[in-house]
Structures are given as C-alpha cells and as structure tokens.
C-alpha cells in the first residue's frame, strides 16, 4: 500500500493532537493561575497557589486518599474473584456457562444510574455507605465482567500442559494458582488491574450516591468546590491531580490497551 505523504501525515497527526490536547491544555493553564481576587496576588497571575491549597485543605487531601483506597480495593476484589472464574471459563464447559457469560455482559452495560437507588438502600442496611468498601464493592458490577474477560483471554493463551504438569508435580489448586498461573499471566493481571482501577476511578454516579457525609471521592470533592464564588483554578488543579494516576498507567499498558474494551457474549 502507498504510504501517506509525510507532510499530510504530520498535519493530520498535529490536528488530532490539538483536538485531544486542547481541553487538557486549558485545564493545565488554569490550574497554574490565580483565579480569585486575593490580597497581594492579582487575578490571572501565574502561581503554584492552587496546588499548595490542595495540600493545605484536608477535605481535598482526604478525597484523594479515599479515591485511591476504593479503586485499589476494587482492583484486589475483582482480581481475587475474577481469576478463578476466568480459569473456569478458559478450561471447562459447564451447565449455564453461556448464560453466566451473558449475565456478565448485561451487568457490564447496565447504566449505574439505573441501580443507584436500590444499591444505596441495600448498602445502607449493611452499613456500607460512606465507606470505601461500599464503593469498591459496587464497582465490581462492571469491573468483574471486564476482569473475567481479560484474564480468560490471557489464560486461554497458555497451554493446558502447564496445569497438568503442575498437578502431576503435586501442587494443590491454590499452590498452582499462586506459583504457576499468576506468573504465567502476569501481563494479563496488570492489564486487568489497570482497567479496574481506571473504570473505578472515573465512575461518578455510584461513588456519589454511596458517600453522603464522609468518605467523599475525588470527583465529589471537586463538585463541592463549586459555589457562590468558585475558585476555578483550584478546581482545575484538582482535575490535573485526578488525571495523574491514569495517565501514568497508560504508559505501562500501551500495548494491551484494546483488551479493556473486549466484550464477550
């Protein structure tokens, strides 16, 4: 095939990059400006004040920690329950396997707003409101399907002989999982962890409804900054902070990023 001209290619790439980067540039720009009238600092002056304010405001600091905690908890939960399930789908056929697969698809595409109310009532009964455990558990709804799909594809790429030799060597099932299977699909574990973390991190509806008085995630802390006089510079600085983990992790999964959008039926 004829390669596109180098100049046309560059122009196209530049246009696309401009489109993607423009809102990010705007955010970055405002995050380094003083956007409220303040004593001693004229409005619109470049400053690090917004970032210093994040460190100085306990509500914002706690929100960052809360988000990290429930996203990590969600990753651990999904991996712990998703790994055996993915193994079962990869190695066996059984009664109802296709129905279970369809259930996963149904939960993956269920809009959180549809379940927000009953999830709140149910979790309130179990004391799971205002706690990172509650959010981590609720996000399993869409992250368990993703984990199972990703891990299943990685496990299926490994020959059955690995299982059989391990069992012949006298490994128990948990021993086989920890000592053989997990190291063999380490990239898959990483990819699944990345997507669970990201989808939990960006979710808003459930994270909001499950945090009434405490345990606010970073997204709600940003919403709370809006008021009579919004310090948009601070909002943007918080947004930049909320982008850091995702952008950093994109680098690590750049070659596997399509796996997170694999849908099975």
């Amino acid at each position: 095939m004829k390669a596109a001209g180098p100049i046309a290619g560059f122009v196209g790439f530049a246009l696309l990059a401009a489109f993607v980067l423009l809102p990010l540039a705007q955010t970055l720009l405002l995050s380094f400006l003083s956007t409220l009238p303040r004593e001693g600092i004229p409005e619109g002056q470049p400053t690090l004040l917004n970032y210093r304010n994040i460190v100085a405001m306990p509500a914002l600091r706690e929100a960052i920690v809360n988000s990290i905690i429930y996203a990590l908890l969600n990753v651990l939960l999904c991996l712990a329950v998703g790994l055996p399930a993915a193994y079962a789908f990869s190695r066996y056929r059984f009664v109802g396997d296709r129905h279970f697969f369809f259930l996963l698809l149904a939960f993956r595409v269920t809009p959180p707003v549809v379940l927000s109310l009953p999830v709140f009532i149910l979790f309130a009964k179990f004391g799971l409101v205002n706690s990172p455990v509650g959010i981590a558990l609720a996000h399993c709804l869409f992250n368990i399907p993703i984990t199972i799909w990703i891990l299943e594809s990685f496990i299926s790429a490994i020959p059955r002989e690995l299982d059989e030799t391990a069992f012949l060597d006298g490994h128990t099932l948990p021993g086989f999982f920890v000592k053989h299977l997990v190291p063999a699909i380490a990239p898959g574990i990483g990819v699944a962890a990345f997507f669970c973390f990201i989808f939990s991190w960006v979710e808003v509806v459930i994270a909001r409804i499950l945090t009434v008085t405490a345990g606010k995630p970073i997204t709600m802390a940003i919403n709370a900054l809006f008021g009579f006089q919004t310090d948009i510079g601070l909002v943007m600085a918080m947004t930049v902070v909320s982008l850091v983990p995702g952008v950093a992790m994109i680098w690590f999964v750049r070659n596997h990023i399509s796996r997170g959008f694999v849908v099975r039926a």
Binding site: M1, A3, A4, G9, L16, V20, P23, A25, Q26, T27, L30, T35, L77, V81, P84, A85, A88, Y92, R93, F94, F102, L105, A106, F107, V109, T110, P111, V114, L115, L117, P118, V119, I121, L122, L137, A138, L141, I144, I148, W201, V202, E203, V204, V205, T219, I222, N223, T239, S242, L243, G246, I250, W251, R254, I257, S258, F261, V262, V263, A265
Partner: protein, 287 residues
C-alpha cells in the same frame, strides 16, 4: 475441545456471590419498587402498573427517547467514521502509532464529571482558549440558550471522550489481519477501497460490533456529562433518558424512578441480547 465439568461452578461462586449482591438484589428491588408508590422506606403502597402506564403515555418520555436515539446515532456516526479512518491511517503510518494510541487513551482516564467542566472552561468567553478565539473572530457560541450549540458541544465533547475507544478497538482488529490477506488482494489488483470493503471490513466485524454495543449503551444512557453542560436545557432540548431518571430520583419520586429504571434496563438488555445473537451467528459461520 474443553472438557465438560460442572464442578467448575465452584470457581464461579465468589464472583457470582458479589454480582448477586451488587447486581441481582438491586435489580429485584428496583423491579419491586416500580409497582409501588413510595413515600418512605416504611410507607410503600401497591399501585400495580400505574407508573408504567404513566411513562408509556407521557409525551415527555417519547421526546426524551427520541433525543437519546438521535444523540446515539449522531455520536456513533461521527465517532465510527472518524475512528475507522484514523485507525486505517495508523495501520499505514506506524511512526505515529504508539503516540496516537496513547494520546487518544488520555480522555478515557478523565473522571466523568470533570469532562464537562474542562469543556465549559474551554468555551468560556472570558477565560477559555476556544471561547476567546470565538470572541475575537466574532463567532457567537451560546451553548446555554441555543439548542443547536448545546448539541454541538455535547457531540464534540463525547467524541473527545470516546474516540479513543473506537480507534483502539479498530486498530487492534486491523493488526490481527494476517498479511497473507493483503498479499492475496494485491495479487488480484484490488483498489484500496476494495481492500477495505472485502478484506478489512469483514475481519473487523467482531471489534466493530463490540465498539458499537459499548458506544450505544453509554451514549444512550449519557448522564453525568450532559447534566453538567446544561442540565437538559435549553428548554429541555438536551433532556436525555437518564436525565429524566435523575430528575425523578432528585425529586424523591422513587416509584416512577424505579419503573423508569426497569424500562431502561430492559432496553439495554435487549441491545446486549442482539449483540449476543449476532456474535454467536458470526462465530457459528466461522467455525
């Protein structure tokens, strides 16, 4: 062939238990609420299918459904034509491949309520880069009161958010096509369009239907992003299905909110079911 072993269900118990707790139980609850008038958790009265009749006969529901369908159709048309085109260019220009894929992945990791905030600041006529450029060029952009502009902003914002998903999936599908297919097409003297139509498109059916089902359900049920931009306005011109539901919940009308939730869930389920049928038919024909 995989061996048949029903004991494999033991491996599924942990995930099935969690999914039952966070998925099945709430679904059953919402189904139950949808037949009740709910004043508080202790005061719920059976009303039968009253909420469903109310929704089915309401002009507002039909209007929101229409708007959501049009919105999905528009964003899918824009994102798929752009996404397929970019992915095809990438497969021919490997130099930009990793950079473009990583670039397009960035919007996917932005928290959903931050996306509208970023875009509103961008088009802000006082402080926004694009807003000030419009001002200087004399282009009047008024997303608050001009429905067309609100729609434009929503579609561009949604494309910014999700274009990466389409490109990434299509690119992955393209890289999975064995080079022998292209060589055969080249021997036959196929044009670029013919290669796309007869070699690439059939092999992309799987990833395209995946992208389609994900993009359809997410755009059809758009809530956080659309609400923040203009709260369904101007004059309800961007009131999509999920925004109606959000209004019911915020107004404590839990009975009708539950009925609406059931209807929306069934719509999404129907789409997932069609996807499953299509996928199985295709897999069956390939075997």
């Amino acid at each position: 062939m995989k061996p048949r072993n029903n004991a494999a269900w033991l491996f599924l118990i942990p995930s099935a238990a969690i999914l039952a707790f966070v998925g099945i139980v709430p679904l059953v609850a919402v189904f139950n609420y949808s037949f009740h008038d709910i004043f508080s958790l202790d005061q719920a009265y059976w009303v039968g299918t009253q909420w469903y009749e109310e929704i089915a006969s309401s002009q507002r529901f039909r209007a929101s459904l229409g708007r959501s369908l049009v919105f999905s159709a528009l964003v899918i048309a824009v994102q798929f034509s752009l996404g397929i085109w970019i992915a095809l260019l990438l497969s021919r220009a490997p130099r930009y491949r990793t950079a473009v894929l990583m670039l397009l992945a960035i919007p996917l990791v932005v928290p959903w309520n931050m996306i509208p905030i970023m875009w509103l600041n961008l088009v802000n006529p006082d402080t926004g880069l694009v807003g000030r450029a419009f001002e200087a060029l004399g282009i009047g952009f008024d997303y608050k009161f001009t429905a067309l502009h609100t729609w434009l902003l929503l579609i561009i914002m949604d494309t910014w958010h999700w274009l990466g998903l389409v490109v990434i999936l299509v690119y992955a599908g393209l890289s999975a096509i064995p080079p022998a297919y292209y060589q055969a097409a080249a021997i036959d003297g196929a044009s670029r369009l013919q290669v796309f139509r007869h070699v690439q498109l059939p092999r992309l059916a799987g990833v395209l239907s995946m992208a389609l089902v994900l993009r359809f359900v997410d755009s059809f049920m758009i809530y956080t992003e659309a609400f923040r931009i203009n709260a369904g306005g101007p004059n309800g011109a961007t009131t999509f299905l999920a925004l109606d539901l959000g209004e019911n919940i915020n107004g404590f009308s839990y009975g009708i909110a539950a009925a609406r939730s059931v209807i929306y869930f069934l719509m999404v389920l129907a789409v997932a079911w069609v996807f499953r049928l299509v996928t199985q038919a295709r897999e069956g024909s390939e075997e």
